[in-house]
């Protein structure tokens, strides 16, 4: 083994807890080596360890939702075969986990932080909120969470319970909070509360709206992107996205240069 301290690990993590409600699952995995070096906004790539099938082939990427005492938690939605297979796993079974991967959020030194999440993009905001609070317990942290419907927000009940956080909700169908878009919440919150650092994770149209708003208001803004990934470690170059200046910079790679980018660095 090379003697440098490892920034990434591949390990066999036992599932300690798994629970699914509707199509939303929460899974807690024993992964001390990964937890030890993990930062908010990073992700892991997982595959059931006992799975000798090559179909589906790829590992699946998930954001770090929580990291406590060597246990890491992910929250995922069942959308296809990979997530369906994961949802069928049980406590005691073993997951092959690679991580932590990518570059996470830069914690801003601003006194005020707007965490803007949509749908499953809310997942990384829990660890982000805790990290900001740990760095500076005086920070004002406002989470603005949007989803299609209240059920989806329920998957993130623990985030809404964090005491150092102010939470506002928006749903497309009006079943919780503001009946409308999360960008509306951001505009109102900034208007009422003042400038701050913006962190955003969610569907592309949402993040684009957030980024354009921040550009207009000159607020520092980070967005967390998703692309299909094969390796997650910067080797295959499959996860390209256009940089802000396509001609000059060529492409950025979500798994290595991101998933979190300064909004100004990418093509909106």
């Amino acid at each position: 083994m090379t003697m440098h301290a490892k920034a990434k690990h591949q390990l066999q993590g036992e599932i300690r807890e798994i629970s699914c409600r509707d199509e939303y699952c929460r899974m807690t995995i024993a992964a001390p080596a990964i937890c030890h070096v993990a930062a908010a906004g990073q992700f892991v790539m997982v595959k059931p360890a006992a799975d000798k099938s090559n179909d589906p082939l790829f590992r699946r990427p998930f954001s770090l939702h929580q990291v406590v005492d060597g246990l890491l938690t992910i929250i995922f939605k069942i959308v296809g075969r990979g997530t369906r297979n994961l949802a069928k796993m049980q406590a005691g079974e073993v997951l092959d986990v690679v991580g932590p991967l990518g570059k996470g959020f830069q914690l801003s030194s601003e006194p005020r932080h707007y965490l803007v999440g949509g749908g499953m993009g809310i997942a990384p905001l829990h660890l982000l909120a805790e990290s900001i609070n740990r760095q500076n317990p005086q920070s004002e942290i406002i989470a603005l969470l949007g989803a299609r419907t209240a059920r989806e927000l329920d998957a993130f009940a623990d985030l809404q319970d964090l005491r150092f956080l102010r939470v506002e909700l928006a749903t497309d169908d009006g079943t919780a909070g503001h009946h409308g878009l999360v960008i509306d919440l951001l505009e109102r919150a900034v208007a009422a509360g003042g400038r701050g650092a913006v962190y955003s994770c969610g569907p592309w149209p949402m993040m684009k709206a957030v980024a354009l708003y921040c550009r207009a208001k000159q607020l520092p803004c980070q967005v967390s992107l998703e692309t299909v990934m094969a390796c997650g470690v910067g080797a295959c170059l499959g996860c390209a996205v256009s940089g802000a200046d396509v001609a000059g910079d060529g492409y950025l790679h979500v798994c290595k240069d991101g998933p979190v980018f300064e909004a100004g660095k990418i093509w909106l």
Binding site: T2, L57, V98, V233, A235, L237, C239, S242, G250
Partner: protein, 306 residues
């Protein structure tokens, strides 16, 4: 009782490899990406991502698609170009004690020759020549699909280089053994095969190809039977060593390719799925030899019974 460690070494011409396990170009970055998962020095060799004369930004996304037991990629040979490669990537590659193979690609015969020339002063173990690229001067037909062009590229690279030359063959041909023979005639030290098979996938919702480039290269376990057949055919045709590539992810796969006539093998897509696989297969191959009381891996090469 003394248990002798089996002999894993293989040779490609004068080049001695500690073992037959190499990593395939484009699936292992420049090695460093896997340093946390694999002790690189335990590998037979690593082959770096293809390098061209000028930098290439590659194809627009989406670039990859998962398929049944495989994947399509249309990376578009993104790479920093030979200048940056030599100044930024080469120094760290020289820290590895395992062999480093540089994979090169060009749009014209001259580009291949230039790249061979530029790599002369480096301490690399070998050059691997990717001839699946379209020849812009010949209407975009891939170099690797025409025996005459295979011969010419090989000869030119051979003449301009002092390194072992591995010609990497395209499977998208009627007779891959003829391409291997052309490479041998041109002076190749070895041939490696297969590169990816041209494939396509369509998003029925948008009615557009899933890859921005429309078509891409198919790799992974799905293609293993095709790769194995081609390796077997080529090994019967040429005398130079054959390096087997295509869907390898287990020790059984490695042994199959060796039996079919491969002197060494490369692991491609499997690195992306399981970043520790390359070293696992070195260990696994050693155990396989031990368990089956085979003293040297060389005994497996071409060991297929009739």
């Amino acid at each position: 009782m003394v248990v002798n460690k089996p002999d894993l070494t293989v040779a490609i011409g004068d080049w001695q490899l500690a073992n037959p396990i190499m990593t395939a170009s484009g699936t292992f970055g420049y090695g460093a990406e896997f340093a946390d998962f694999v002790n690189l020095n335990r590998l037979g060799a690593i082959v770096v991502k293809g390098v061209s004369v000028k930098p290439r930004i590659g194809n627009p996304p989406p670039r990859i698609v998962e398929t049944a037991c495989g994947m399509l990629n249309a990376i578009g040979l993104e790479n920093p170009g030979i200048d940056k490669f030599l100044t930024e990537k080469m120094p760290q590659l020289q820290n590895f004690t395992c062999g480093v193979v540089v994979n090169i690609l060009g749009d014209s015969l001259e580009e291949y020759c230039t790249l061979a020339e530029r790599l002369k002063e480096t301490a690399i173990a070998a050059i691997e020549v990717n001839i699946s690229c379209p020849n812009v001067k010949k209407g975009g037909v891939a170099f690797g699909t025409d025996a005459r062009m295979v011969y010419e590229v090989t000869r030119c690279v051979r003449e301009r280089s002092n390194k072992p030359i591995i010609m990497k063959l395209s499977p998208n041909v009627t007779d891959i053994a003829a391409m291997a023979a052309a490479a041998e005639e041109g002076g190749a030290s070895a041939v490696s095969l297969i590169n990816t098979l041209l494939g396509m996938a369509i998003d029925i919702r948008t009615r557009r190809p899933k890859l921005a480039n429309k078509v891409g290269g198919l790799s992974g376990p799905a293609i293993k039977p095709i790769a194995l057949r081609m390796v077997w055919q080529v090994a019967q045709r040429v005398k130079v060593p054959v390096i087997g590539i295509g869907g390898i992810s287990t020790v059984e796969d490695v042994v199959e390719f060796l039996l079919a006539g491969a002197t060494a093998i490369q692991i491609g897509t499997a690195n992306l799925i399981n970043p520790g696989v390359a070293e696992e297969l070195v260990d696994g191959l050693e155990n396989y030899l031990l368990e089956n009381k085979i003293a040297a891996v060389k005994e497996l090469i071409n060991g297929l019974l009739a």
